[in-house]
């Protein structure tokens, strides 16, 4: 899951980014409004976190710009203002949720999970395919009765695959949603991580879940 954070207070942006990365999200951070809008328009993010008071372009303008471009990515606004009208304006302009500063990190994370869940129509909460289960709230992955320990990136990759079960996911799609903008697309990092995942999930099971689609990418499905 790749998230764009547009926040001009460097320190605030930094700790949000760290918190999210520790939850295995891929995070891009931007401190400028206009630049943030451009990034939101050109990259297919899974979620936007937008501060309302920004230099060069306000959070409200970013919201409007994104929605005008018919991008339905969930947007969470951060605001230092406790005034109701600011939040109302934000929600009316197309935000999906808001948080007032200062906020608790746990709440931020819970709201992000809720927003990401909203995108997929099926079962909220636990993602399941065959006997493989992934719980985004606890970040617990099990196959059958056996717990599987994953690194942050492995987890992020698996979550992305599981949210798009039965669809072919190309390498550019995977890199766009699992890695941030610092990722170098010309390496074979994706293949390496898919192999790690295979080792942890499919090894020892007769039923393989991760499949290579030759020439295009990967797919998670039950045979």
């Amino acid at each position: 899951m790749r998230i764009l954070v547009i926040e001009d207070e460097t320190k605030v942006g930094c700790f949000i980014r760290r918190a999210l990365e520790e939850e295995s999200y891929a995070v891009d951070l931007c401190e400028d409004g206009a630049k943030g809008l451009e990034m939101a328009l050109h990259t297919n993010y899974d979620l936007l976190i937008v501060d309302l008071m920004l230099p060069s372009l306000s959070g409200l303008d970013i919201l409007k710009g994104v929605r005008q471009a018919k991008i339905q990515t969930p947007i969470l606004i951060l605001t230092a203002q406790s005034q109701v009208d600011q939040r109302v304006k934000g929600l009316d302009a197309g935000a999906d949720d808001y948080l007032t500063k200062p906020f608790a990190i746990d709440e931020l994370l819970a709201r992000i999970r809720a927003l990401l869940r909203r995108g997929s129509t099926e079962s909220p909460g636990v993602l399941q395919i065959d006997d493989l289960a992934l719980n985004p709230a606890t970040r617990e992955v099990t196959r059958g009765s056996q717990r599987i320990d994953l690194t942050l990136k492995e987890y992020a990759l698996l979550e992305y695959l599981m949210r798009h079960t039965g669809r072919v996911l190309t390498r550019p799609m995977i890199s766009e949603h699992v890695w941030n903008q610092d990722f170098d697309t010309f390496t074979n990092v994706i293949d390496v991580y898919v192999n790690y995942l295979r080792n942890k999930i499919d090894r020892g099971h007769s039923k393989k879940l991760i499949h290579t689609i030759r020439g295009s990418g990967y797919m998670l499905k039950v045979d």
């Binding site: 320190k11 520790e22 906020f103």
Partner: protein
């Protein structure tokens, strides 16, 4: 009681009084002149009768028929007459006298003996009042007869009664009509007041965007409306400023809180290296310092707003102060390799509070260093003209766009360039500077070009000559100066 009712009542009472006085006078004057007219015609008739008798040599007249033939003119008059003998008995009377006896009154007889005429009223039951004139006819010192001419007051009284009736009926009608008119006029005159009241109620309800429509006339109501609108304008502006201010203040205070809460929570989520905790604590300390600065500055400004900041008015030698500040600013500049140069100085004394002036210049120097590029230069100059001392602080840093140059003195206002340049800053410094300059009857001017640098010039009125003459020695430490 509503103003409209009161106005109408006042008006009605005044009008009623005027009407009553006017009617009474009219009635009395009319009554008087009608009676005078009656008396006059009685006198004329009596005089005519006397003349006729004289012409005929005062013949004793026997009966009425003879009398009428002798005096045909008597038959034509609307009056009656009687002739009495000197003893007061009736000798003769005109035929139009009713059957009743109408003896000569005692008073008339007495007056007749003294040779004068008498006008009197006579009243008989069931008859209208009569007006009588008794004229003695004296021939060679002897009273021959008394001629009495009378007429009924009937028509006079009838006229007066009719007049009274007209007055009594028309007065209430006139009063009622004009009361209604007064009510209407008062309503019309007061309608703008009602409009103002309604608008004021809406405004009191919190809608400060409301304005009254100004009437075309420049009357009292027009002036009231204009004054009212001007007042709401000012209210709206200051409300907007207060709202802006408190929202800015809340934003500025929430940001460090957000950082501290977020970083601390994040650190506590899982076990970490000692160095990680140290980084968080150091960062939190920075935020605490920042909050302390904001709170101090806000406190100062709000106390200044309430007029609670004490200002000394002592002679302050600016040259010494500037030299001292120059040393301090040089230290500030060293961190960023910025040269602070004292370009010009001259003896100058102003009346004021040294601590505050120090704060003012230090803020400007701090800004100049802060918004300079690394290894830039900052110049200080102190000059005087006839009336003012001018302290200018020049830097070659990021500069300020023309449209921002007035707004930088607003509380919390920081330009986007300044925000991008450094996170250190509250946006309150220049607001405090402006306040200090103003309370010294001075002002601050800005000249700046984006990317080239800025010059802030403080102008302070010089102390009058005697104060300048006895320059007190000033120590570089402000506290010892304070204790004197």
């Amino acid at each position: 009681m509503p103003l409209r009712v009161r106005l109408t009542l006042w008006y009605g009472t005044a009008l009623a009084l005027i009407l009553i006085i006017f009617s009474t006078i009219l009635y009395l004057v009319t009554a008087r002149s009608l009676r005078d007219a009656v008396d006059e015609s009685l006198e004329e008739t009596a005089a005519a009768a006397v003349r006729s008798l004289e012409e005929r040599g005062f013949l004793p007249l026997i009966d009425e028929d003879e009398l009428m033939s002798q005096f045909p003119e008597l038959a034509r008059i609307d009056k009656f007459f009687q002739i009495f003998s000197p003893s007061g008995t009736i000798t003769i009377r005109s035929p139009n006298v009713k059957q009743q006896e109408m003896p000569l009154s005692r008073q008339a007889l007495e007056v007749a003996y003294s040779g004068r005429s008498l006008l009197e009223f006579a009243k008989y039951p069931k008859e209208p009042a009569l007006r009588l004139i008794s004229v003695p006819i004296i021939y060679r010192g002897n009273l021959l007869y008394i001629i009495q001419v009378g007429t009924s007051m009937d028509s006079v009284e009838e006229t007066l009664n009719r007049l009274l009736l007209v007055l009594l009926v028309s007065m209430p009608i006139a009063l009622a009509v004009s009361l209604a008119g007064g009510w209407f006029m008062a309503g019309r005159a007061l309608r703008p007041v009602d409009t103002i009241t309604l608008a004021a109620q809406r405004i009191a309800g919190g809608d400060l965007t409301q304005r009254l429509t100004v009437p075309a006339s420049a009357d009292e109501i027009g002036r009231l409306t204009n004054t009212f609108n001007a007042m709401i304008d000012r209210l709206e502006t200051s409300f907007r400023q207060i709202r802006q201010f408190s929202s800015d203040a809340s934003h500025e205070l929430r940001t460090p809180l957000t950082v501290m809460k977020g970083e601390t929570e994040l650190a506590l989520r899982r076990p970490r290296e000692t160095d990680d905790y140290k980084v968080v604590l150091e960062s939190n300390l920075e935020e605490i310092d920042r909050m302390t600065r904001i709170v101090d500055e806000l406190l100062f400004l709000s106390r200044a707003d309430m007029g609670e900041v004490k200002m000394e008015r002592l002679p302050v030698p600016l040259d010494t102060l500037i030299e001292d500040l120059h040393r301090q600013a040089s230290l500030l500049g060293q961190e960023r390799n910025i040269q602070v140069v004292l370009r010009a100085t001259t003896p100058a004394v102003v009346l004021g509070d040294e601590l505050r002036l120090r704060e003012l210049f230090l803020n400007l120097l701090d800004n100049a260093v802060k918004y300079s590029r690394p290894s830039g230069a900052v110049d200080i100059a102190l000059m005087i003209d006839q009336t003012h001392a001018r302290v200018s602080v020049t830097d070659h840093g990021i500069g300020i766009a023309q449209e921002d140059q007035t707004r930088i003195f607003d509380r919390f206002y920081r330009t986007d360039e300044a925000r991008a340049h450094t996170k250190k800053g509250t946006g309150l410094g220049l607001a405090i500077c402006a306040w200090i300059a103003e309370s010294h009857r001075g002002r601050i001017e800005v000249q700046s070009k984006v990317g080239e640098g800025s010059t802030f010039t403080v102008m302070l009125p010089l102390a009058p000559a005697p104060a300048a003459a006895k320059r007190p020695p000033i120590s570089s430490s402000p506290s010892s100066h304070r204790e004197r």
